[in-house]
C-alpha cells in the first residue's frame, strides 16, 4: 500500500481528500492560540507503508500500515502544550487545539494569517514511485536476494530477506500563514543470514535504506546488500574477542560515523544546550577538536535516509556546519532553541509523527574529509583495533559518556590488520574522544544503512558518514 505523490497545489491533498480548507486551518490555529502563545504549528500526516518478508524459502508474510492524523503544538516561551487527533473532523481538530491551548493560561488571542503555500526543494525526487509497484515485483526481488545469498557461501544455512517501502504526505501550517506540503518516500531492504560450521553458528546481516522509489534497488546496490550480509556473517565464524582496556581505535569510513552520532551529535542538539544540560552548553566558538575536524549535519544529501526537504516545523532542510576547523560554530536548532539563542532555526525540528511534538534532531551527520591516507592511519598504530561495522550506540548527554557496539573489525598489530574480532562494546567520553581524533582520512563515505535514532521516546530516520579516523584512546570491552 502506498500514497501517490500529490500533483495538486500544496495543501490540496488534505483539502481534497479530507476537507481541510484554508478557512478551517485558520479556525483551528486561532483556537490553538486563543489564550495567547508565541508560536503554534499544525502538523497533518497521511502515511502508508508496505512490507514483505521471505523465510523458509517462501515469501510468506506481508504487511501494510496506514497512519492518519494531526498534531497541534502551542509554544509559550519554552513551554509546550501538545495534543493530537487521529480523526480529521472539524470537531476533533478544534478539541485538540483547545487542549494544546491550555498551556497558555493568561495571554491574549493571537492573530492568525491566512495560509499561503510555500514550495520547498525536493532533495529526493522519485523515478519509480511505490504506488505504481506491484506486490509481484517486491516478491521477486527479495526472493532473488535469498537465492544469491545462498549461492555466495556454502556455509550459509538460513537466509531471511525483507523489504519495506513507505510514502508519507505531511502538511505543516504556521501562524504567519506558511503552509508547506511535503512528500516523503522511504525504503529499506534487509537480509539476515545464519552460517553453521559444526557446532558453531553465527548470525548477522545487512540493510540498505534511503528516500527513493524502486530505482533505489539498482543492480550495484542489490549486489552490495547481498555481499555485505554474507561477508559479515561468515566473518564472525573466524573472529574472536580483542584484548580488554584502553587502546588506539581506528574507525573505518562509513558506518563508523555512529561515533559522531553518539559521542558528539546528540550533545550538539540545542534543546540540551538551552537547558544547560549538555556538555557542549558553554563551548560555542571554542576549540573542541583537532583543526582537521569539520562536522556538518546535512538535510540536503539527496536520497539519504536523513534527507529533509522541510523539517517538521516548516523550515527548509539545510546544511549546518557544527564544527569548523575544530571550533564549535552552532547547535542544531528547532524554533524554541533558535528563539532562545536569537538565531535562525537550522531546519532540525523533527518528530516521529503527528503523535509527538518536534524537537531538535540530527539528519545526516557527517565528518568531512581530512588530509590522511587511510592506509597511513592503520600503519600508524602499533597495537589497537580497527572497527568496520556496528549495530547500536548510546550516550549520556551531560556527562558525555557514550558507547557503540562493534560487530566486526580487526586487531591492529605493528601497523597491520591481523586477527578478525567481533562483538565488543566500545566506550568513551564524547568531548575527550573528539579531542583524541588525531588523524582524519580522505575517504569519507555516507553509510547507506537504515539507521534510526531514538530520543525522548521518538524515533526518526537518520544518516551518517565519516572518513577513516584514528582515536588515540578508547575503552574496548574485550577479554583478558
Amino acid at each position: 500500500m502506498s500514497i501517490p505523490r500529490p500533483d495538486g497545489a500544496p495543501g490540496a491533498w488534505f483539502e481534497d481528500g479530507f476537507g481541510i480548507t484554508p478557512e478551517l486551518l485558520r479556525r483551528v490555529m486561532s483556537a490553538a492560540l486563543s489564550k495567547g502563545g508565541n508560536d503554534c504549528d499544525l502538523y497533518f500526516e497521511h502515511a502508508a507503508s508496505t512490507s514483505v518478508r521471505l523465510s523458509d524459502g517462501k515469501v510468506n508474510a506481508a504487511g501494510t500500515h496506514v497512519d492518519l492524523g494531526m498534531g497541534v503544538r502551542v509554544v509559550v516561551g519554552d513551554q509546550v502544550g501538545f495534543a493530537f487527533t487521529e480523526e480529521l473532523t472539524p470537531a476533533a481538530m478544534m478539541a485538540a487545539a483547545a487542549t494544546a491551548a491550555e498551556i497558555a493560561e493568561h495571554g491574549d488571542p493571537r492573530t492568525v494569517a491566512a495560509p499561503v503555500a510555500v514550495r520547498v526543494t525536493d532533495w529526493s525526487p522519485v523515478l519509480e514511485p511505490w504506488d505504481q509497484v506491484d506486490m509481484a515485483t517486491r516478491v521477486k526481488m527479495i526472493r532473488d536476494w535469498e537465492q544469491r545469498a545462498f549461492a555466495r557461501d556454502s556455509r550459509i544455512a538460513r537466509v531471511e530477506s525483507s523489504m519495506a517501502d513507505a510514502a508519507m504526505v505531511v502538511m505543516i501550517v504556521r501562524p504567519d500563514g506558511r503552509l508547506v506540503e511535503d512528500w516523503r518516500p522511504m525504503t529499506r531492504g534487509h537480509i539476515t543470514a545464519t552460517a553453521i560450521v559444526g557446532e558453531q553458528r553465527e548470525s548477522s546481516g545487512a540493510n540498505v535504506a534511503g528516500r527513493a522509489g524502486l530505482e533505489f534497488y539498482d543492480s550495484a546496490r542489490q549486489g552490495r546488500l547481498v555481499d555485505q550480509a554474507i561477508d559479515r556473517t561468515v566473518f564472525l565464524l573466524d573472529a574472536g574477542k580483542p584484548p580488554a582496556g584502553e587502546m588506539p581505535v581506528v574507525l573505518a569510513a562509513g558506518p563508523s560515523a555512529i561515533l559522531l552520532h553518539e559521542a558528539i551529535g546528540h550533545g550538539m542538539e540545542a534543546d540540551f544546550n538551552r537547558k544547560g544540560t549538555s556538555i557542549y552548553a558553554d563551548k560555542l566558538n571554542k576549540r573542541i577538536a583537532d583543526k582537521d575536524v569539520v562536522i556538518v549535519d546535512d538535510g540536503t544529501v539527496p536520497h539519504t535516509r536523513g534527507a529533509v526537504n522541510v523539517d517538521d516545523e516548516g523550515n527548509a532542510g539545510q546544511r549546518t556546519v557544527l564544527v569548523e576547523g575544530g571550533v564549535l560554530r552552532t547547535y542544531m536548532h528547532d524554533e524554541i532553541s533558535a528563539r532562545h539563542y536569537g538565531v535562525a532555526p537550522t531546519g532540525s525540528g523533527r518528530r516521529e509523527g503527528f503523535r509527538s511534538p518536534p524537537i531538535p534532531r540530527m539528519r545526516a551527520t557527517i565528518m568531512e574529509n581530512g588530509p590522511h591516507d587511510p592506509q597511513d592511519i592503520i600503519r600508524s598504530v602499533k597495537r589497537g583495533i580497527y572497527c568496520q561495522t556496528f549495530s547500536n550506540g548510546q550516550v549520556h548527554i551531560g556527562g558525555g559518556d557514550f558507547a557503540f557496539y562493534m560487530k566486526t573489525g580487526f586487531l591492529i598489530e605493528d601497523g597491520k590488520l591481523t586477527r578478525p574480532i567481533k562483538d565488543v562494546n566500545i566506550i568513551g567520553n564524547g568531548p575527550q574522544a573528539l579531542e583524541r581524533i588525531d588523524m582524519v582520512g580522505n575517504d569519507m563515505i555516507i553509510d547507506e544503512g537504515g539507521w534510526t535514532c531514538g530520543k525522548n521516546g521518538q524515533s526518526v530516520p537518520v544518516s551518517q558518514g565519516m572518513p577513516t579516523v584514528r582515536v588515540a584512546k578508547l575503552n574496548v570491552g574485550g577479554m583478558g
Partner: protein, 455 residues
C-alpha cells in the same frame, strides 16, 4: 487540562462495546472482501503527561488513539495490517487492498488461526488492571505531584550543585479488544500511572552528569512515594560524580535490582521459538539442561494482580499462565508461540512473557558487599549488545566500586564482556531487595569473577 470527547472516543469511560463492534465489523468486512480467516485487534488509549523543569511547566501533552490491526489468511496466504484511518470507506478500501496484496504471497498454513479450544482468558477481574479512580482524576494532581517531587529532589540534594531538575507525571487508560473469524473474542482494560525525575549535576571538568529515576504502577495508590523517588535519583546522581574507569580485571559484580533485567534479558531472546527455528539461538538443544548456576531461578507470572506485565492472554489468544522458565539453573521451557510451534512441530507454550521474577534471597546488598574484599555495583548500562547465536555479550556499565562494604570510587566508562553461559554460571546470590515496579521483578544479583575493562 480538561478532557474532551469526540466520536471515536465517545465511550471511553463506559466499556468496550463499541470496540467489540468495531472488531466484529473488521472481521465481517475482511471476510466479505475475500479473507478466509481474520483476527482483528482494536486498541484505544488516552494518556496525559506533564513535565516540569526548574519550577515551570515544560510540556503538557495529551493523546488519544484508536487503531485497528487485522491479520488475514487468503487461500492459505498470510498478511498483517494496521490503520488509524477508520473512516468507513477508507477502512473498506484498506482491507480490500490488504486482501488483494495477500494473494501475491506463497501459502503458509502454519499461519492459520490457533485452534479455538486453546484460546481464552485468565480471570480478568482478578488481574485488577484498571483503577477506576483514573476516570475522575483531578487535572491538578499532575501539577501538584511534579511540584512536590521537585521540592523533595532539591531538598535531598541540597549539598549538590544541581544544574537542572525535571520532574514528570503521566497517566493513561488503554482498552484492548481481539475478535477472530472463528468465534474468539476478548476485551480488557488497564490503567497506568507513573512519574519520575531527571537531574543534571555540575561535576569537575565541566561534566554535567545526569541521573534519572522512573516508576509506574497500574493503580494510583500503588505508586512509589515522591520521597523515595527523590532519594533514589539523588543517590544515583551522587554516584555519577567524579566517575571514571578503574583498572581492567575480574571483579565480583552486584547488579542493582532496578537494572538487573537488562543483564538477564540476554537470556530471554534466545528462548523464543522463532530464534530456535531460525537457528539464531544459543539455547537450541539445551531444554532440560543446566544453563546457569543452580542459585538462579526465573519465573514468568503474567497473573500477578496489578503488576506491570500482567495480561489475560498472550498474542495468540492463549490464556496466560504462571510458569518456571529456569529452575535452579535448569532450562525448563522455551517461549513457543503458535506459529513457530507449528514450524518446529512443538506444542505452543506461549511466546509472550509477563512479569519475570527472580525469587529473592535473604541478605541485603549491604550485607553481601560487606563480605567481599572488592566488588563493583552496577547501577546502569550504556550501549552494548548480545550475539544471540553465540551468547557473547559486551555492555558499558556505570556504578560504584566497593571494598569490604565501603564505597571507594564511582565508576564509569567501563565495559563488561563475556559469554552468557559463563556469566550465568558465575551467578551466586539473589539479595533480599526485589524490585516490583517493573516487568522484571528481581532483587540485586551477585555474580563472581566478571571481566571488566577499564583503565
Amino acid at each position: 487540562m480538561s478532557k474532551h470527547t469526540d466520536s471515536k472516543h465517545a465511550d471511553s469511560k463506559h466499556g468496550l462495546d463499541s470496540l467489540l463492534d468495531l472488531g466484529q465489523r473488521v472481521v465481517s468486512l475482511a471476510r466479505e472482501l475475500g479473507a478466509d480467516q481474520v483476527r482483528a485487534g482494536v486498541g484505544r488509549g488516552v494518556s496525559t503527561e506533564l513535565s516540569r523543569r526548574d519550577g515551570h511547566i515544560e510540556k503538557a501533552e495529551k493523546s488519544r488513539s484508536l487503531s485497528v490491526r487485522a491479520s488475514i489468511m487468503v487461500d492459505g496466504r498470510f498478511s498483517a495490517h494496521a490503520t488509524s484511518d477508520l473512516r468507513p470507506e477508507a477502512l473498506r478500501e484498506f482491507l480490500g487492498r490488504a486482501v488483494e496484496a495477500t494473494r501475491f504471497l506463497e501459502p503458509d498454513l502454519n499461519r492459520r488461526l490457533p485452534d479455538l479450544e486453546t484460546m481464552g482468558d485468565a480471570d480478568i477481574d482478578a488481574l485488577d488492571m484498571r483503577d477506576a479512580s483514573w476516570d475522575d482524576l483531578d487535572p491538578a494532581y499532575r501539577q501538584a505531584r511534579c511540584a512536590d517531587l521537585e521540592d523533595r529532589v532539591r531538598a535531598a540534594g541540597s549539598d549538590l550543585k544541581i544544574r537542572s531538575v525535571t520532574t514528570y507525571a503521566w497517566d493513561g487508560s488503554s482498552d484492548h479488544v481481539t475478535v477472530t473469524s472463528h468465534g474468539y473474542q476478548s476485551a480488557w482494560r488497564s490503567t497506568s500511572f507513573g512519574g519520575g525525575a531527571v537531574i543534571s549535576l555540575e561535576d569537575e571538568g565541566g561534566r554535567l552528569p545526569e541521573a534519572y529515576f522512573t516508576t509506574g504502577a497500574r493503580h494510583q495508590a500503588d505508586q512509589l512515594g515522591p520521597e523515595t523517588i527523590a532519594k533514589q535519583v539523588i543517590e544515583h546522581g551522587r554516584h555519577r560524580l567524579g566517575g571514571g574507569p578503574t583498572a581492567s580485571g575480574r571483579y565480583a559484580m552486584l547488579v542493582e535490582n532496578k537494572v538487573a533485567g537488562r543483564i538477564l534479558g540476554t537470556l530471554i531472546g534466545p528462548m523464543h521459538a522463532e530464534a530456535i527455528y531460525e537457528k539464531r539461538s544459543c539455547l537450541d538443544g539445551k531444554l532440560g539442561q543446566r544453563v546457569a548456576n543452580e542459585a538462579l531461578t526465573i519465573i514468568d507470572d503474567p497473573l500477578l494482580p496489578r503488576a506491570a506485565g500482567s495480561h489475560p492472554h498472550d498474542g495468540d489468544g492463549m490464556p496466560a499462565r504462571r510458569r518456571t522458565l529456569l529452575d535452579r539453573g535448569v532450562l525448563q521451557e522455551f517461549l513457543v508461540d503458535v506459529y513457530n510451534g507449528r514450524r518446529l512441530g512443538w506444542e505452543p507454550t506461549s511466546g509472550d512473557v509477563g512479569n519475570l521474577i527472580v525469587p529473592q534471597g535473604v541478605r541485603s546488598p549491604q550485607a553481601v558487599l560487606a563480605t567481599l574484599p572488592q566488588a563493583i555495583v552496577v547501577e546502569g548500562f550504556l550501549g552494548g549488545n548480545t550475539n544471540p547465536a553465540s551468547g557473547d555479550f559486551s555492555f558499558g556499565v556505570n556504578g560504584v566500586l566497593y571494598q569490604h562494604g565501603h564505597a571507594v570510587r564511582n565508576i564509569s566508562e567501563m565495559n563488561i564482556s563475556g559469554n552468557l553461559f559463563e556469566l550465568l554460571d558465575r551467578f551466586s546470590e539473589a539479595c533480599d531487595d526485589a524490585w516490583i515496579w517493573s516487568t522484571w521483578r528481581t532483587p540485586s544479583l551477585l555474580f563472581h569473577d566478571i571481566q571488566f575493562s577499564g583503565s
